[in-house]
């Protein structure tokens, strides 16, 4: 199949960027989207041009390192799928595809499609853990946890930290990401102990990173590759209000 690409090229943070056209006359529909970009890059290198920089690592949908806006959608046309799990058969012969970086004030562009998502690490740093130092843990089965509670905690813990929720949100809110970690730990007895400080600190950090507020458009859960539910945001708000009341 033939594909026209319009890719955002930007050499570094301080330079301005622009969309550049590339024509790929012979794309195999079984290729993944990133393999299609690999093929383009191989051509660019052979022509002694700078290849398109993009983030990726595991290429199996679990590390959360890949991510770009494809035709205006975070991770592309399929819902709940990472960019690396998207295949060219999702497009049609002759399509023009716009490829841009995730855009948010808190995610500055580093180069081409690579953005800086270290704000997420700082949100976790603010309290996304239990303070269980190595060595002091009790026997694992001394803390039974109901099956459905453990499963619900897992649903939230599954977040891969890709940032699609932020990129797709018109307010660039990190509410889904932050809420996922808060819910994961708030549901478990091990995490409850520090729950009150955690939610306050993480929310404060999220705000100070320049992410916007959640206005309940629910756009994030459509793109989230791990199908993290917006109900976690409601829980985060509830935990936050409770922490203020206590």
């Amino acid at each position: 199949m033939r594909i026209q690409l319009k890719i955002w090229r930007q050499q570094n943070r301080s330079k301005s960027g622009q969309l550049v056209n590339y024509d790929l006359p012979d794309v195999n529909p079984d290729m993944s989207f990133l393999e299609m970009l690999d093929t383009l890059n191989e051509r660019l290198v052979r022509q002694r041009e700078r290849p398109v920089e993009f983030d990726h690592d595991c290429r199996e949908g679990i590390c959360g390192q890949c991510g770009m806006m494809i035709n205006g959608r975070a991770h592309g046309p399929l819902s709940n799928t990472t960019t690396c799990q998207l295949h060219m058969r999702a497009f049609r012969d002759g399509d023009t595809i716009y490829v841009e970086p995730f855009r948010a004030t808190a995610f500055p562009v580093k180069c081409d499609l690579k953005v800086d998502r270290s704000a997420f690490d700082r949100i976790i740093q603010a309290g996304g853990y239990t303070s269980a130092s190595t060595g002091g843990a009790p026997e694992a089965n001394s803390i039974p946890i109901a099956h459905d509670v453990a499963e619900a905690a897992f649903d939230a813990a599954a977040c891969i930290g890709c940032g699609a929720c932020v990129a797709t949100c018109k307010n660039s809110s990190a509410a889904l990401f932050t809420a996922a970690k808060i819910t994961h730990l708030a549901l478990l007895p091990q995490g409850k102990i520090e729950g009150r400080q955690r939610v306050r600190r993480m929310v404060r950090q999220m705000d100070s990173e320049g992410f916007g507020h959640c206005s309940n458009t629910e756009a994030c859960q459509v793109e989230c590759p791990q199908q993290i539910s917006v109900l976690h945001i409601a829980r985060m708000n509830w935990e936050y209000n409770r922490s203020l009341a206590m």
Partner: protein, 636 residues
């Protein structure tokens, strides 16, 4: 000259004895000591967090843009631990024995025993961190059995065990970053080790975003840089996985053990075209219900559903009636290769075998199969576009895990004092074949429990050393060497991108130093790798300079692979026996099974670097089996 420093005494007392007698560093002195941890996978994160909690100063780095993305994140199946929650007779000794036997009697008894001994604590630690392992309706933890052992000792978190364990370790690490004890450097790649007066004293790293070279000094350096199976190009590893850190350490004097022992996993998705860059692992659990077959006729072009039963060859069931489709990884992979090489492979590239669920669906019903493997079937459909409820899956073997790695003693110290290797980067516990669900365990146990006890034994003598001077000539020399190497690569300006050389090297290794090896093939491979290396230095093409440049990153890794690949071939060539993943065609029984030679080869090969284009020097660490008696591993 190799001293593994195995403590005296009976097997079950060694670790306790070691811990009771190892030197300690008082808490007041710990903040005078700096430890560099390269890697934020399970081994690196858990160690950096634990050392930070103890009060040491830690610098920790990784090449990904966040510590949470280290490739431990991709492990699906589970983690073994001896809790005997199922009351099925599991004991530390049984776990130890299973691991030694699974490794085809090519690992060190004392290390393996300690792995089993520390396993239970890991589960306690992870649960305290909030790792959501699968639970029974009672609220207690659930287990399953994995990889052909007779007890259920595998803990799991859906198909995302590695991710959940890593998030636990990552969160503990971030807590220490917030506390100021760990300074974390994502997007930093280690490019050299600095050795001063025979001791590891620091590293040279490249900031991958700016291209700047940096010097970091430490009283000890730990490499927890994961596996190097990506040397085969097509593998289940992530794109950035590499052998560079351990290879640089090797060239500075650290011995490299059993480099050619690579686990090739039987159930991966086959290559579909030469644009492909990685092979996705399909969980081994599929073999519990799927049956593996190829057509009996070579040129059978019918679609699989049209091939009637009498025309199918269920070759695992035929050759290994006792274990059948559940035969261990090395055996299953080799049997698949044998059929594919003989011309019975299926799929457009004839490089796969079928994994067929039709009988299981008929007998158990589709809903049952969906409940067990729904996510895997969905993943298969996403990648291949094929519905595996209707048609058998196509699978093929792919490089997966490096049993080999830097040689370490009982303390996980390499042959360079003050340099440690943890997790998949060392060679320690898996012998010639790793058992499923044992390597997450090893990475965690190394990082949470072993290294935090053994590194202080070394640091206790470093209290008076004072800060490591990064203006020392050894740092300047290493940095200059790194800079020159990068400049050489950028200056070649030939015609071929780095991937071209990586693919060619990978194909040579798969063919000659993969599932099956022979003297002639290995010699041939050494010659081919030599000339590929020459071509690389004449014809490599990297556009751009030494700032942010992913082509330069790739080329640096490939340059190291082109040397490491050669060492792998030497290693395979000198081991005149077949054991575990190492199958030498000359050493097999009349019916094609591996022929181990305990009389001449019950040792670990530890290689010393002799210089480029020189034959590496082999050292042997004898394996003394005091407790177990090596037996023939039979799965018939």
């Amino acid at each position: 000259m190799l001293n593994a420093k195995i403590p005296e005494g009976p097997l079950q007392d060694k670790w306790r004895h070691y811990r009771s007698t190892a030197k300690l560093v008082s808490s007041a002195n710990r903040n005078k000591l700096q430890v560099i941890v390269v890697g934020t996978g399970l081994a690196g994160s858990s160690l950096a967090a634990s050392l930070g909690e103890m009060g040491y100063r830690v610098t920790c780095l990784c090449f990904q843009d966040s510590a949470r993305r280290a490739h431990s994140v991709a492990a699906q199946g589970g983690v073994n631990a001896c809790k005997n929650y199922k009351n099925d007779g599991d004991t530390v000794f049984r776990m130890f024995y299973d691991t030694i036997k699974g490794g085809d009697f090519r690992s060190r008894e004392a290390n393996v025993y300690r792995l089993a001994e520390c396993s239970a604590n890991l589960i306690d630690q992870a649960v305290a961190q909030g790792v959501p392992f699968a639970r029974e309706y009672s609220g207690y933890l659930s287990n399953r059995s994995f990889g052909g052992v007779q007890v259920s000792r595998t803990f799991y978190a859906r198909g995302q065990t590695g991710q959940q364990l890593l998030l636990g370790a990552y969160q503990a690490l971030m807590r220490q970053v917030a506390a100021g004890s760990v300074s974390l450097l994502p997007r930093h790649e280690m490019l050299d080790l600095v050795v001063i007066d025979g001791k590891a004293r620091g590293i040279i790293v490249r900031n991958m975003d700016s291209g700047a070279l940096e010097r970091h000094g430490g009283h000890a350096v730990v490499l927890a840089t994961g596996g190097f199976g990506k040397i085969y190009y097509l593998s289940t590893l992530a794109m950035g996985c590499n052998g560079s850190a351990i290879w640089r350490a090797h060239k500075r004097g650290a011995f490299f053990a059993n480099p050619s022992w690579t686990q090739i996993h039987p159930t991966c998705l086959p290559q579909s075209g030469d644009y492909q860059s990685k092979l996705t692992l399909m969980s081994e659990s599929l073999r519990n219900d799927g049956r593996i077959w190829v057509p009996k006729g070579r040129e059978d072009h019918r679609s699989p559903n049209e091939i009637p039963e009498p025309d199918r060859d269920y070759y695992l069931e035929r050759r290994y009636p006792a274990f059948g489709n559940l035969s261990p990884r090395d055996i299953s992979s080799r049997a698949a290769k044998e059929r594919i090489d003989a011309g019975y492979g299926v799929g457009p590239l004839k490089n796969a075998v079928y994994l067929d669920f039709s009988r299981a669906i008929r007998e158990q019903g589709k809903p049952k199969i969906e409940e067990k493997y729904g996510n895997l079937f969905r993943m298969y459909q996403k990648i291949t576009g094929v519905d595996a409820y209707q048609q058998p899956m196509r699978i093929s073997p792919a490089a997966h895990f490096s049993m080999g790695g830097l040689w370490v003693d009982y303390e996980l110290m390499t042959t360079i004092p003050g340099l440690y290797a943890l997790g998949e980067a060392n060679f320690a516990d898996h012998g010639a074949n790793r058992l499923g669900a044992n390597s997450l365990l090893q990475a965690c146990v190394d990082g949470y429990f072993i290294a935090p006890a053994t590194i202080p034994n070394y640091l206790a003598n470093e209290i008076k050393t004072g800060p490591i001077p990064i203006d020392h000539p050894a740092f300047a020399e290493s940095e200059a060497a790194v800079r020159e190497r990068l400049q050489v690569l950028v200056n070649i300006q030939g015609k071929s991108p780095a991937d071209h050389f990586h693919k060619t090297l990978g194909a040579v290794l798969y063919d000659k130093c993969g599932l099956s090896r022979s003297q002639g093939g290995l010699k041939d491979a050494i010659g081919k790798i030599h000339s590929l290396r020459d071509q690389f230095y004449n014809d490599l093409l990297i556009p751009g300079g030494i700032d942010l440049n992913s082509e330069l990153e790739k080329a640096g890794r490939v340059a190291d692979y082109l040397e490491l690949g050669e060492l792998m071939c030497y290693d395979a060539l000198t081991r005149n026996e077949s054991c575990g993943a190492h199958f030498r065609e000359e050493y097999q029984t009349p019916d094609g099974e591996a022929l181990r030679n305990d009389r001449d080869f019950a040792f670990t090969s530890a290689w010393e670097w002799a210089g480029i284009d020189k034959e590496p020097i082999l050292h042997r660490e004898p394996l003394d089996f005091e407790v177990v008696t090596p037996t023939v591993r039979s799965y018939k």
